[in-house]
Amino acid sequence: MDKQLMKGNEAIAEAAVRAGCKFFAGYPITPQSEILEYLSWRMPEEDGVFIQSESELAGISMVYGAAATGFRTMTSSSGPGYSLLQEGISYIASAELPCLLVNVMRYGSGLGDIFVGQSDYWQTVKNGGHGDYRSIVYAPASVQEAADLVRLGFDKAEEYRNPVTLLSDASIGQMMEPVDLPKIIDHDPDKYDWTASGKGERKFNRITSNMYYMDNFDEYISKKYKTIEENEQLWEEFHTEDAEYVLVAYGISSRISIEAVEAVRKKGIKAGLIRPISLYPFPVKAFEGLKDVKGLISVEMTKLSQMAEDVALASRMKVPVYGITGGTELYEVEDVVESILEIVDGKAKEVI
């Protein structure tokens, strides 16, 4: 046990090292640069390699090459930089390689700003890159969970031979909390038969879009993602058993939403919370048991209620869906409470 106080970004970096990650390439961008800075000295301590790449395009390309060799590898970025990773992510998914990607979200489109925000939901969860692929996406709500999901992420990436994205945000990335990190493990890069490692005595391997060499590729790839959707949904529920109004929030927004749920319950409103931990696959199972719900409320730090579409789909459009939006600064619990009261009073418009 070595519980210590760490920044979210540093916990992600240390958790990656302890998961046996041996190659990191990335580019500075706020608010994720601590991951880069931490790994610049930490990677060499464990005989790993750190490269500050000339761009995010180059960084994800290096990660693509590293992933192909069977080593555990990752990159991290934010907002505008994460946009530049999309080309590589599509190739990595297409070649079915495992790796961990981290997006420490900021706010806004274009240059946007480094303030708190959750405006990369669509890009990260729905794919910014081209073609038929998905990245498994996990959203941590605490420093501890960020570290835990790094380890899980590497495991799931290899289990499904698919990229996994950790969708953090500026708040989780920059806040300090106590974190309990697991012991470092060794990852054997030679345990898989699909790697680019020199053919030796086996038949050569081609790391490329697997559609080229597979007769039943369409069926195969659709089944792969259906399996992920069936087996990998993660979420947490809070007071949903009798809830008439269910907030849906991930990451930092879920922490404020829990307080808001408690506050409106004191006012006699039966509110609850579903906190998706996996955003792809979206935890639709969490919505199956809901009864007598009058409204679902997507609480996210984006102006366009990006996740609300998935909330609507998860509830099969049977329940009105509302959005509480924010960003650039953290909403206060009172702000969320006020918005909930407006919804309950019938004064708010549905998102969809």
Binding site: K22, F23, A25, V49, I51, S53, E54, S55, L57, A58, G59, S61, M62, V63, Y64, G65, A66, A67, A68, T69, G70, F71, T73, E87, G88, Y91, A95, P189, T195, A196, S197, G198, K199, G200, E201, F204, N205, R206, I207, T208, S209
Partner: protein, 246 residues
């Protein structure tokens, strides 16, 4: 009587256009790797474009890189598996247009990889558009009146840029005729030797014919390299470092 059997890596006939230089260059890479005893440990990062036909007919571990990023992919591979022979195989549109940054930064860092760079003066796979290497006045589908260097800048001689950097090996060869093919093979060998000796970045540019998009016969294409292309892109060894890190 078999005078010289083809290398094992060329396990099936290549798929390039008739008269294309890629087939020769693929074979040279395969011969060098085999002669060095490295073909079982070699890993290639293969570019988008005509180069992307290579993994179909080249029997070593290969990664299909994104357009322009093959050098960066190779850097990722080499850092994880430093004992393997790692190379990128790229055309001129790939390495010098969209991938200029990745190409140059691998050289700037003196990354211990080998880049095989095929210069045929156009984007071949997409139908013969102008590339950074297209000669002044050369007609392509996007420079139908001939390349106007006042508008596009001059043909890019990347070795002139790289030779200002601290790299291990730079050479430019050609596949126009047996003598130059054998000389180019020697350059490729020296490039891989540099990598094996951990000297750092090695880069071999190969002038190569594209009869399909040059609208010339294979013979005339070779003649064109000999008489015209070499005036812009002189052949020879431009950097060579030996023994510093052996």
């Amino acid at each position: 009587m078999v005078i010289k059997s083809k290398p094992e890596a060329c396990f099936v006939d290549n798929k390039y256009c008739p008269g294309c230089g890629h087939g020769i260059i693929n074979r040279l890479v395969a011969e060098v790797l085999e002669e060095m005893g490295e073909e079982k440990k070699a890993i290639g990062a293969i570019a988008v474009g005509c180069a992307s036909l290579m993994p179909d007919t080249f029997g070593i571990d290969c990664i299909q890189a994104q357009h322009g990023r093959a050098a960066a992919v190779a850097v990722g591979v080499k850092n994880c598996r430093p004992d393997n022979m790692v190379f990128s195989y790229q055309g001129d549109g790939d390495a010098l247009a969209i991938g200029f940054s990745e190409t140059m930064y691998a050289a700037i860092r003196n990354d211990n990889i080998t880049v095989i760079f095929v210069n045929n003066g156009n984007f071949g796979m997409t139908g013969g558009q102008m590339a950074p290497t297209t000669l002044e006045g050369q007609r392509t589908t996007t420079s139908p009146k001939g390349r106007d260097i006042m508008a596009t800048g001059a043909p890019l001689n990347v070795i002139n840029l790289m030779k200002t950097l601290d790299v291990a090996y730079l050479a430019r060869g050609s596949v126009d005729g047996n003598a130059n093919i054998m000389k180019t093979k020697k350059y490729i060998r020296e490039a891989f030797e540099a990598q094996k000796n951990k000297e750092g970045y090695s880069f071999v540019e190969v002038l190569s014919p594209c009869p399909t998009n040059w609208n010339k016969s294979p013979q005339d294409s070779m003649k064109h390299i000999r008489e015209t292309v070499v005036k812009t892109y002189e052949m020879g060894v431009y950097a060579e470092r030996r023994g510093d890190n052996a």
